[in-house]
Amino acid sequence: MLRTRPYLLTGLALLILSGVSIFIGVGQLSLGTVWHDPAALQLLWISRIPRTLAALLVGSSIAVAGVIMQLLVRNRFVEPGTTGTSEAAMLGLLAVTILAPGWPIMAKMIVAACASLIGIAGFFALIRKLPPDQPLMIPLVGLIYGGILGAAATFIAFQADLIQYLGVWMSGEFSGVLAGRYELLWLAGGLAVLAYLAADQFTVAGLGQKASLSLGLRYGQVLTLGVVTVALVSSLVIVTVGILPFIGLVVPNIVSRLMGDNLRQTLPVVAGMGAGFVLLSDIIGRVARYPYEIPAGTVFGVLGAVVFLWLLLRKPHA
């Protein structure tokens, strides 16, 4: 009973939030009239449903990417946004925007993913020599590394007069999401599902390279799978809606506190809670200064910080 409660709660919250998200916004929709009104139906299919789905897909996939990264690095404080992964993806995106502006979005995304893979490899190389008994060194080095890559991106964007693009990529928000412009995100959702199939492998890898070797895990393969998943998810999210920082950090930490790190049990909740937080942030962003919108990434910056502090400071119950 106790063990199914987290799944039920997450599912229920997602249902309610999705309902709210579909019926809230500048154009009024109500459950009674929408079925007879072709304009309302149009709004639903073109904007509201895609927007809601986009938020759900983004939230779940980046939370999953975050928890994978934390298990592979064996550090609670890493996520794509604190390890240079997102910045490296932006560098790739900038390069392709400057050199091959005509390429289709899919090709751009792949270039971004390759760049973020290189970025992650650089991060792993940097942290290899760090003392394992000082866990805060890893996110610190990651932040500095990300800062340097971010500065390089800003410099290049400035030179090439692409600062606006950078702004769009860096602040994740869903106001531009319409049918036909978010479907790449299904790939990110698919990757999260794939990750679930390998949940046990990731959990074992989280015990460390040696322990996983002694259990017969092909550690190198699992590491590669995880890193590729993280790079692809980050890039897909950046090219479609932009960076949503901290989701990948906050959500896995909350779930780990409450349920532990056995991904077979927790990954659905991680994905669900990530989806819920992003959707909630987007809804708050839509209604807080109605009819103007606040980016979901900004809203979550505040929301996530509060939740995270509560989590850190609350007394562990026996």
């Binding site: 866990p135 074992v204 070797l213 532990g260 790190d261």
Partner: protein, 252 residues
């Protein structure tokens, strides 16, 4: 039998192991002893394939370390490392169930559940089964890792200082359990021990290392004498024989 032949190991310029060759017998408890930094953990890591061999060869029964698929090796030997620091929050029961992973790849059968229940029993972990690893004491965590290796149910069990952090009762229980495994199930056990009393009381075979080289090895009764042990630790060590036990005295 584990056959170690001509194994040397260097980290940078430091020579950690120097041309170690020895046989470790089957179906017995072999104690690996020696001063801090002698190279016991390094040797154990090389034997279990957790560090790649540089020179020399190791084979475990018919399997050659370095040429065996990880899963096949995991079905052959289980390892408990000296430092079992964990960053992840798993419940004790979940950790132990991962001991069955080489067998079931994550799809547990009834036999797996029996084995897990047994491991919880044997290592006195039932009361802690649903606790998270980072919410139990160091000794309790160590027992959980030993129980995981036990659940792996392999011919060989390699343990690096498993008695660290264990209280008297659990240390004795662990040694008695290993003894039972060797006698009743013909398991082969290699255990790094610091407390020589446990080595003298429980081990059938002793391998002593010093400065990265083999100091002496052989049947426990033959090789654990005052002369050998004093030389090994550069300390006066006496053996005190009572009616039915031998004690190693070195405290004063």
């Amino acid at each position: 039998m584990i056959d170690i032949s001509g194994v040397s190991y260097a980290i940078g310029k430091a020579q950690i192991l120097k041309d170690v060759s020895l046989h470790i017998p089957c179906g017995q408890i072999t104690a690996l002893i020696g001063p801090n930094g002698a190279g016991k953990s390094t040797l154990l890591n090389l034997m279990s394939g957790q560090e790649p061999l540089q020179t020399g060869t190791v084979s475990v029964d018919a399997l050659h370390i370095g040429q065996t698929r990880p899963r096949d090796l995991a079905l052959k030997m289980a390892v408990v490392a000296q430092h079992v620091g964990v960053a992840s929050r798993l419940r004790v029961r979940d950790l132990i169930s991962f001991g069955r992973w080489p067998h079931n790849q994550g799809r547990p059968t009834a036999a797996d559940h029996t084995m897990i229940a047994q491991a919880l029993d044997r290592f006195d972990l039932n009361a802690l089964a649903d606790r998270f690893l980072d919410e139990v004491s160091g000794g309790q965590r160590q027992r959980a890792f030993v129980a995981m290796a036990y659940a792996q149910d392999t011919d060989w069990l390699l343990l690096d200082e498993p008695l660290n952090n264990l209280d008297l009762r659990h240390a004795s229980r662990l040694m008695a359990e290993l003894h039972r495994l060797a006698r009743e199930q013909d398991k082969s056990i290699v255990i790094v021990l610091h407390d020589l009393n446990y080595a003298v009381a429980w081990a059938d075979h002793v391998v002593a290392m010093k400065n990265g080289a083999l100091a002496f090895e052989g049947a426990t009764q033959k090789v654990t004498n005052a002369e050998n042990l004093s030389a090994l630790y550069d300390t006066d060590v006496r053996l005190v024989q009572t009616e039915d036990e031998v004690f190693v005295a070195h405290h004063r």
